[in-house]
Symmetry: C2
Subunit: 213 residues, 2 copies
Amino acid sequence: MASQQPARPAAPAPRPTRRSEKSRRAIYDAALALVVEAGYPRTTIEGIAARAGVGKQTIYRWWPSKAEVLMEAFLDLAGHPPRDAAQEPSAIPDTGDLAADLKAVLRATVDELKDPRFDAPSRALAAEGLVDEALGRQYVAKLLEPSLQLYVQRLRSAQEAGDLRPDLDPRIALELFVSPLAQRWLQHTGPITYAYTDTLVDYALYGLAPRSR
Amino acid sequence: MASQQPARPAAPAPRPTRRSEKSRRAIYDAALALVVEAGYPRTTIEGIAARAGVGKQTIYRWWPSKAEVLMEAFLDLAGHPPRDAAQEPSAIPDTGDLAADLKAVLRATVDELKDPRFDAPSRALAAEGLVDEALGRQYVAKLLEPSLQLYVQRLRSAQEAGDLRPDLDPRIALELFVSPLAQRWLQHTGPITYAYTDTLVDYALYGLAPRSR
């Protein structure tokens, strides 16, 4: 996993490779568990350290704030889906069938959103991001936007292949099928199923208005 | 404003008309202000009463919980847009031009989402609804879903007029342009402008894939 620590030109941050892997794992697990149990505002570096069985200076040496610890814990979580621990976050497949590729990745997202190990901490962090704008922007910049950019890449290649209207903005286009799933998950506005995400892809690609044939 | 209290067959709830309008207004204002300043968990009936200058029994007589007070305060807020105090929440206009009607109502929503009087309390309540599932479901049932049903009605009449594919589910279709705006607002994932919501409507109605002409 890439380090998310900001570069410090004068005194470079310690490399993650120098961290004890066992401590790092214990710290991530403690941070994710605490944010679920106590909520973000009551999660502290001290609490994470106590639960992880490390000194709090160990945490401060590697991360400047609890927000940074949690962001890295989430990046780690998102990079290791429980169904396939070897899987890395990567580009959306391009089989040449745009609808099929989007449906496949959204079905995988449905699985992830329904997994309690992902759902509970993600929800706690997202909730705090709604009212703590600085945290929210960090959440978006580090966790959400990079995954949305994978859709941008796939939609751009679809434009090159002539499968997508050449004049549209991929960054907006992806929201037609990604945001409805996000809202149903976050706000419990409706059930989340494969049939639902398949339908979103079909509606978005082919439009709600009738096509003249 | 219609009462949102659940019907109690044995002992009907007091009618809103019996409430002192001045006290009701003071209680709504206090509840909205407190949820912004202190957050939902630290907002109490006692705090609302103190700020509104009423006894807490006055509040308990009319509302069973702080959640109910806040829901009614929001319904009142949503029913009185600041730009036109006489406007009531109502059906989406049907001028016969579906794209124009949807763009107009989404532009009005952009105005509302950018109004601090609406934004701050709505955001606080939505954030708590993410982690407090009972509150979240109440928020959706009383505040969100009724406004989404106005889109369902407009989309159904568009289906009857032949402006929308007859086979599609209006409740899912509306999410293609409503959810992206909701996510940008809630999570600060991108700017909210008229041009953006106009684009969402065009993309949703006419599809992302090229149309054969």
